[in-house]
Structure formats: C-alpha cells, structure tokens
C-alpha cells in the first residue's frame, strides 16, 4: 500500500501542495485537476524525483526515500514531458532503460518486442524516433513505463498526443494492467479516467478536494444539474446567473447544461451529473452567479 502522509511541498514562499493525505491500494486512481493544481508535483514526489518539504510517502510502511532502489524497482513512471533520444530506435532506447531498471539484456530483448506490440509499435521497433509523431513517442513512453512489470505505475498525462483510437486502446491496456497493481493516472481530461478509475482524486487549493469513486463524486452534485433550452438572446444573462457546464445549439435555441443548488425553474430537466460536471463546477472561474 502506498500512503501519502501529511505531505506539503513549498518552493520558497509558494505553496504547491499542503498537507496531502492519500492511500492507494491496487487499482486505477485518477488524479484529476486543472493544469497547475499540483498533480505533477505530487507525482514527482511519488517517483522520488523531488522530495516533500513536510510529511512522507510510505510504501508498506517504509519511507520510499529510504527504500531507494527497492522502491523504484517496483515503479513504472511516464512523465508529463517524455524525453527521448532522437537518434535511438524504440528498441535501443528501451534496452538502455531496461539496463537502468536492472533488467538483463537477454530478458529485455525478449520483453521489448512484446511491449512494443502492446502499444502497436512493433513495425517501427528499429526506426529512429526522430521521425515519430507525438502519439508514437507517447506510446514508447507507455512501453518504457511497463518495462519492469511495475507494481506501481504512475502516468502523468499519458494520453497527451494520442488520437481517439489510441486512447481507447490505452484505456483497455490500463484496465488489464490494473488487476494486480496500483495505477495512478494524472490528467485533466475527464474521459481518460471516468470509465476506468476505481477512485478519482481531485486537488483544489493545494489540498485534496475529493478522493472517492466516480459515482460518489458525482453524487456531490446530485439534483443540482439541469438542462434546459433558452433563446439565444438570454444566454448572456443566463451565464451570469448560473454555472454553465455546456452549451449547444439545437433547432434555433440553445440547450444549456448547468448547476443550480436551489429550486428548479420551469422547463428545467434534471440531469444525471457526470464527473466532467463536477470537474467544471469545482474548477469554475469566478462566475458572477447565484448558485
């Protein structure tokens, strides 16, 4: 079990995270927050790249910094900015990273083609990566994170650059992997985790806002999400009064989805809240509205 205990992180006077407490078991955890909320900071601390200013991170009761190599040997990590050697082929790069992960060359040579097959890169296994698209590079990144068959898989914005088909394939891959390991996915794209995460963690104002199942998080807006059709000319005033979640044109009118925590209006239809609704509501800009 991975435990984040009273962890804070400061950069000078700037407080990036404040007294974070989290517990992770096997399964998929979605770390959902807008850019700049501190997701990457938390993930880098869990990857031992940076250190908590206060508090500690424990794995099975032991501080991960004290565990050092023992902890990292169980870790698979895909950073937000996946760097690569542009003159290396995926196979060469993975062989190098396998050596850093303590995997023998023979074993790595057997594993790498299988991994590249999983991320649909077996055709370009020996091609230099400088010619690869962003999506292909990201798939190499996913493959390297899986190299050591990690017990803890931490992926920071893993779907960046992937097309819808690749995203679907990736979600399927993660679901398979999460059966017997801990998978933490940091993202600001709700659809990446909505269907696969056992629990979603939302960070707001440097602290944990939610750590719960998708259903329970959505329940926080139960009975408060509505849809209604309004004329175009009322849209501006509607925006000022309610927190709008989405807007779309239909038959000359605007269909709006919004949050309202008071009495429902006429012709409003109550809607089942989705994770994206909670995300948009919680991280809304300062809306001049009475909710």
């Amino acid at each position: 079990m991975l435990v984040v205990k009273n962890v804070s992180k400061h950069y000078g006077k700037f407080n990036a995270l404040h007294e974070i407490n989290l517990e992770f078991m096997n399964g998929v955890y979605g770390l959902l927050a807008p850019n700049g909320a501190g997701k990457t900071t938390l993930i880098k601390m869990m990857s031992t790249l940076i250190f908590p200013s206060e508090g500690e991170i424990l794995y099975d009761g032991k501080n991960i910094l004290d565990m050092d190599e023992e902890y990292r040997s169980m870790l698979g990590y895909l950073p937000q900015q996946f760097g690569f050697y542009k003159n290396y082929s995926p196979k060469q790069y993975l062989l190098y990273l396998a050596a850093l992960k303590g995997i023998g060359k023979k074993q790595a040579s057997e594993m790498i083609p299988e991994l590249l097959e999983k991320v649909a890169l077996s055709d370009v296994m020996n091609k230099k990566m400088k010619k690869f698209s962003g999506g292909m590079i990201q798939r190499v990144g996913i493959a390297q994170a899986l190299l050591n068959d990690p017990k803890i898989l931490i992926l920071d914005e893993p779907t960046a650059g992937l097309d819808p088909k690749e995203r679907a394939r990736f979600r399927q891959l993660l679901s398979d992997l999460a059966r017997d390991r801990l998978v933490i996915i940091s993202t600001h794209i709700v659809s990446d985790i909505e269907s696969i995460a056992n629990e979603v963690i939302m960070i707001k104002n440097q602290q944990v806002l939610f750590k719960d199942s998708v259903g329970n998080i959505c329940d926080s807006l139960n009975g408060c999400v509505y849809e209604t059709a309004i004329p175009f000319d009322q849209l501006a005033s509607f925006r000022k009064r309610y927190v709008l979640l989405s807007e779309k044109q239909e038959q000359g009118r605007m269909i709006v989805r919004f949050v309202h925590k008071g009495e429902a209006g006429v012709q409003w239809q109550q809607a089942v809240p989705h994770l994206e609704d909670v995300f948009l509501y919680e991280y809304r800009d300062d809306i001049q509205a009475e909710v």
Partner: protein, 422 residues
C-alpha cells in the same frame, strides 16, 4: 549490469557526430603537423649510424675511434675535391665555408650526399668533444640567480628557489659523474627534436585532448538534462546512482580519447622520425641541449622512460580534468556553460601565481597546478624549468589536485543525491 550501463553512457559520447569529427580532425591535424616538420628526418639517421658504430655512451675510446674514422672520411673527401679543384681541406666545415656558388655543379648528387653526411658526422663529433668544456661553464647558482631575477622573486620565495637550486647542484654533479650527458642523441641545437616532440607535439596533443575530454565528459554528464530524459532515467531503479556511472563512463571515454590520440600521434611521430637507436639514451644527453640550459632531470632517465612518464603525467592530468569537468557539469547541467567554466578555471589556475606577491611562498605553491604542467610537458621532471624546477613538483601537483578533484567530485555527487530533478 552496472558495466552495461557504463558502456551505454560511453556510447553516447562515441556516437556524437561532433566528438567523432573532432577526434578524426585532430588526429589528421597531428599527422599533418608531424609530416610538415619532418624536412630534416633524413639527417637524424646519422645518429643511429653513430650509435650502431660507436655505442650509446660517449667514451674517450669511442671518440678516438670516431676521430680516426672522420679523418679517413676526410681523406676520401679530399680525393674528390682534389680531383675537381686540386685543393685539400682540413675539415668539412672548411670545405663548406670556402665553397663558392659556381662550384656547386662540380660535384655529383651522390658526392653532395656524402659531403652532407660527413658534415653531420663532423658536427656530432665537435659537439661530443666539447661536452665537458660546455658543462664546466655551467654554474647552477648563477642559473638560480638568473631565474630569481627573471621572476622578480624576493624574500621567502627567493630563498626557497635558491635552496632548491642548491639541492639541484648536487644532482647536477651526480648527473655529470654518471655521464648521463655523454650519450648520443639527436643534436638539439640543430634539430630541436626535444622541443618538437615534448613541446610542440605534446602541447598540441594536450590542447586537443582537453577540448575533447571536456566535451565528452560534459556530454555524458548532461545528456539526460539536455535531452529532457532526466525524469525517466533518474526515476528508474538505478536512480541518481546513474551519475556515478556517468563519472566512470567519462573516465573511460577520457582514457579512450587520450589513448587514441596519443597512439596515433606518437605512432606517426616515431614512424617518421627513427628513434630506434636512441630509446635508451639519457634524456639528459648533452645533445638534447637546445636553448640556454641543458636538460637535466632530477632522476636518471632514459628517453623512453621520460616519454612514458610524460605520457602518464599528461594522461593523469586529463583524468583530473575530466573529474573537474564532471563536478562542474553536475552543477551547471549545461555543456556550453561547463565548457566556458572549465576554460575559465584552466586559465585562472595558470595565471594565479602572477596575482600573488613574488616574495610569498604562496606564489610558488599556487604554481603547483595542472595547467602549468600540461602546458610545459617539455620541462617536466627537470631542475632547469623555472618555477616548475622543484624536485617534487609533478607528483605533488598531481596528488594535491587529485585530492581536490576527488573532494569536488564527492561533494557534487552527494549534493546530486539530495537534489530535486527538475
């Protein structure tokens, strides 16, 4: 497993197009400069003939034999000259002195060759004959006074230098007693082979090696930060210990670069210039005397021993430069900045003594730096080398700087283990 990581790190340097191009360019440049300085290589062969005939050591008996042979050769020369001009000469020198331009065509190409050989033979004989006389005029205390005046030394610094020259005068006498100066070698005043090899060639080698090893070390050390792969590599099982592997890889790369350049350059040098008969000749031979003072090392060394010692000294300095570059790189994480900082460090170390009062022994102490050693390999281990003349100068400099380099390297590695990867 660790070895494979080190080899992967080395591979990063040796697949760098810039580094490979520079290595090949420098090797080619060295070959070119050696070939372009080889116009007198044929003249050197006479020394091999002399050593073959009279032995390596110059003795009274061998010199007498040499003189007799020289007389015989002179007779042959006179036979030729008489046949053409009916005049006899007492020496080849006289023949060349009295030679007029219009008489050039009197002799065949083959005859000119024999005259040239005879002239060289006579020159070596004259030099050998005058060794004792020349060395008798050398007063070590006067050299000490000259050096003290040259560097403007006063007070304790001057006393230290004077005292070391007193010790050196004992060694000088011992050297004469051993007859180290009485061994055949290429005439220094005519061919300056000592300077060509240990000053020009080695200095060139040093500068090139230094550029390459600083580049290679900075490249290996900063590779992850410059390719934005630091978040991947330092989060692997190996973690920040990868930096230690990078240090070892840098030292291996340094060894390979210095080894390759030195091998190519020296192989070319000794292929062009035939040293086959003088390997064992003393480096203190009177023939290596080129400028104001003869070469006199603190220890009895043959040419080959001196060459090996200089090569090892240069290699050791390069290893220390690599360690220093590594320490700088860990802090800067930028190859260009590392290069600039290293160059600044190298120049400051070299110029440091000139910023310190010439009366202070500190001025002599800061002169114990690697920059001075690598820029003056031709006077290493010698007692006639200005402020580098101290007997223990080389090994003490290397030991002190090894300590400093290891401490800076240890500190940088320790700090890196506690550093956040950003």
């Amino acid at each position: 497993m660790k070895m494979s990581i080190i080899l992967y790190e080395c591979k990063k340097a040796f697949t760098s197009p810039i580094l490979i191009s520079l290595i090949l360019l420098f090797a080619a440049f060295n070959i070119f400069t050696i070939i372009s300085s080889s116009d007198h290589k044929e003249e050197l062969k006479i020394v091999n003939d002399i050593v073959d005939t009279y032995g390596l050591k110059i003795t009274e008996e061998s010199l007498a034999r040499y003189e007799r042979d020289l007389q015989d050769d002179l007779v042959e020369l006179n036979i030729i000259t008489v046949a053409h001009r009916t005049k006899e000469y007492e020496s080849v020198l006289q023949f060349f002195d009295e030679l007029k331009f219009e008489n050039h065509n009197l002799y065949s190409e083959k005859e000119w060759d024999s005259f040239g050989q005879l002239q060289l033979k006579e020159m070596y004989f004259t030099m050998a004959k005058s060794i004792d006389e020349e060395y008798a005029t050398i007063d070590i205390q006067k050299i000490a006074e000259y050096e003290i005046k040259r560097f403007g030394l006063t007070g304790p610094a001057a006393e230290s230098v004077k005292s070391e020259y007193e010790n050196f005068s004992i060694r000088f006498e011992e050297m004469k007693q051993n007859g180290e100066h009485k061994e055949w070698f290429f005439a220094g005043k005519a061919h300056r082979m000592h300077s060509l090899l240990f000053k020009s060639t080695f200095r060139q080698l040093v500068m090139e090696s230094m550029i390459l090893i600083v580049l290679a070390t900075a490249l290996i050390t900063n590779f992850e930060f410059e390719n934005r792969t630091q978040f991947i590599t330092y989060a692997t099982t190996r973690g920040r210990r990868l930096m230690t592997d990078k240090l070892i890889a840098s030292l291996l790369a340094t060894t390979a670069i210095v080894g390759f350049l030195m091998m190519i350059t020296l192989a070319m040098f000794f292929w062009i210039f035939d040293y086959s008969h003088v390997w064992k000749s003393s480096i203190n031979s009177a023939f290596t005397w080129e400028y104001n003072f003869p070469n006199v090392t603190w220890w009895n060394m043959s040419f080959i021993t001196f060459l090996i010692c200089i090569s090892l000294l240069v290699y050791m300095c390069m290893i220390l430069f690599s360690v220093t570059t590594f320490a700088i790189s860990v802090f800067t994480k930028n190859s260009y900045l590392t290069f600039i900082l290293f160059a600044t460090f190298f120049i400051i170390a070299y110029m440091m003594p000139s910023f310190i009062p010439t009366s202070s022994r500190v001025m002599l102490a800061v002169g114990y730096n690697l920059s001075s050693i690598v820029l003056n390999p031709h006077v290493a281990f010698m007692g006639t080398s200005g402020l580098m003349m101290f007997k223990n100068y080389e090994w003490m400099t290397v030991v002190v700087w090894t300590g400093l380099a290891l401490v800076s390297c240890f500190i940088s590695l320790r700090l890196f283990t506690k550093e956040e990867i950003k």
